[in-house]
């Protein structure tokens, strides 16, 4: 019974925790610029992250190692450090985008410019991590994230053309501006398939002391939780296609985002959007900060754990503190949150192979996983997607920058 409740909680928190500024923004841009044409990208990203999360949980449950710990142990210091540095750089940008997201949400409601909110937001996120426990953060904030179901409601209320929608499930060539199309496509992938997620997830599994008996429930949570989360992501795209595209609004200013819901529901819609953004980005902020601290602490062998008090793991706690500080400072510079978001999502896609390949090698090592290693299909599909995404990202990022976004 307790296990069933745990599964239900896992699914629900995965749904609530799925969206954040990256997925909202990229889906909104996709819907505004290309109607339903990029639904396949959202679905592909969802499937990939569901697979990776399942692998991450399985890895921790069977090997009793976190991913970061195992990468250092298996590949040695140098092959641990190089990916770490790259992922750190990209993740801090994503973190800054999320803190920016929370700040922008407050700006939408108060009218006060977002950089002013950066410090209070950073402090709030820090307070949650310093004084909270893993379950409070994981569950509490993610449950609040269920408010993003409003996007699904909005999409249904707007009544999309289901035939056209279904057509978007199949990849198709863009109707216009191909390099922009592919840029958004890889940004969508980068928003869903965030490497920090599987570092975070394996650490959580160890914190919750999973063992092999959790494999089946983990599979269920990954499939259903990520699956429904992906539907919410599609809902954002659909709403954008129905609200922004007909008005010729291309999402290039963050102030345009609330239109997704305010167009339908006026001030209430604005409030709902702001609340959704606030909660989901706050959740993502804490997750990324934790994930980066996990990577360092686990790779260097320190005490770590959100359930430990900071006095029990000072180095770990101060690491996430510093990480949050850097992210906050970046937002304070006033850098445009929308541009930062789309860029960091594309950079995430570009750096995917660096994070994923060592992870996949681990997933095939029977020393860690015994008989629970990956099947070749899982390996090949993830490998192909991440390498292709990376190549497309590397090509399209400069084109997008030059093209002026």
């Amino acid at each position: 019974m307790k296990r069933l409740l745990g599964i239900a909680l896992g699914i629900v928190t995965s749904i609530g925790g799925f969206l954040e500024i990256g997925s909202i923004t990229t889906a909104a841009q996709a819907g505004a610029d290309y109607h339903y044409q990029l639904i396949w990208a959202v679905l592909l990203g969802t499937i990939c992250i569901a697979l990776l999360i399942e692998m991450s949980g399985r890895f921790a449950a069977v090997s009793k190692h976190t991913v970061a710990d195992a990468v250092r142990e298996r590949f040695g210091l140098h092959f641990f450090l190089v990916p770490l540095l790259l992922l750190f750089f990209v993740s801090i940008l994503v973190l800054a985008a999320e803190i920016g997201g929370v700040s922008v949400a407050i700006e939408m409601v108060t009218g006060v410019r977002f950089p002013i909110w950066a410090l209070p937001v950073g402090l709030l996120a820090w307070g949650l991590l310093w004084y909270g426990t893993f379950s409070v953060i994981e569950n509490g904030v993610s449950l609040l994230g269920l408010i993003t179901i409003t996007f699904l409601v909005a999409a249904l209320q707007l009544g999309p053309n289901w035939h056209a929608l279904m057509a978007g499930i199949v990849p198709s060539l863009p109707s216009k501006q191909p390099s922009h199309y592919w840029f958004i496509a890889v940004s969508i992938l980068g928003a869903s398939v965030s490497p920090y997620l599987f570092y975070f997830y394996s650490a959580g599994a160890i914190e919750e002391k999973w063992d092999e008996t959790y494999i089946a429930s983990n599979r269920l949570v990954a499939a259903l939780g990520m699956g429904f989360g992906g539907f919410l992501n599609v809902a954002v795209l659909v709403v954008s296609a129905l609200v922004l595209a007909p008005r010729g609004i291309s999402v290039d200013k963050y102030q345009q985002l609330p239109l997704l819901l305010s167009n339908l529901w006026g001030r209430i819609g604005l409030g709902l959007f702001a609340l959704s953004l606030f909660v989901t980005c706050l959740g993502a902020t804490t997750e990324i900060a934790l994930a980066l601290a996990y990577q360092i602490a686990q790779g260097l062998g320190w005490n770590w754990g959100e359930d430990l008090e900071p006095s029990g793991d000072a180095r770990f706690s101060l690491t996430y503190t510093i990480v949050l500080l850097v992210g906050t400072l970046l937002v304070l510079t006033g850098i445009d949150p929308l541009k930062l978001t789309t860029l960091s999502m594309a950079l995430t896609a570009a750096s995917l192979p660096v994070a994923i390949i060592p992870f996949l090698v681990l997933m095939n090592d029977d020393k860690y996983l015994g008989e629970h290693t990956n099947g070749w299909l899982g390996n090949v599909s993830i490998l192909v997607v991440s390498v292709l995404a990376s190549i497309v990202a590397i090509v399209s990022i400069p084109l997008e920058i030059v093209g002026g976004s």
């Binding site: 590949f75 040695g76 140098h78 092959f79 390949i357 996949l360 090698v361 095939n364 070749w376 390996n379 090949v380 490998l383």
Partner: protein
């Protein structure tokens, strides 16, 4: 010996004057024979434990960490794993090693006298 080489003992260790080596600085170094031909890079140290004595009985030499990692990636894709078996690795017994120069570990026998490790079958 400099202070940093002596290091800091935690408890009850003999302060011996015999030469000490850092294993990790030997890792990845090319192992050459007397004619200067490289056998490969030092990849592993195999130890036999007899009570408290951990004696390094053998050093394994192969293509080096980067190539080894790339080969591991190849095993993710079906059929490419065959590549692994084509890479030469060698087993060097401790008495075949000359570690007097830490920067340039050498074989004190010829290339051909070193045992080749049979490729793993998968």
């Amino acid at each position: 010996m400099s202070a940093s080489a002596r290091g800091m003992r935690i408890s009850g260790a003999l302060d011996a004057s015999p030469r000490e080596l850092q294993l990790e600085s030997l890792l990845g170094k090319r192992l050459c024979d007397q004619d200067g031909n490289s056998l490969g890079r030092i990849e592993e140290f195999v130890v036999e434990r007899h009570g408290l004595d951990w004696a390094v009985v053998e050093v394994q030499v192969g293509p080096g960490a980067l190539v080894a990692r790339l080969l591991e990636i190849s095993t993710l894709v079906p059929f490419l794993g065959v590549l692994r078996r084509s890479i030469a690795r060698h087993r060097v017994a401790w008495h075949q090693l000359d570690l007097s120069d830490e920067e340039h570990p050498r074989l004190n026998v010829r290339h051909s006298e070193v045992e080749r490790i049979a490729p793993r079958s998968r």
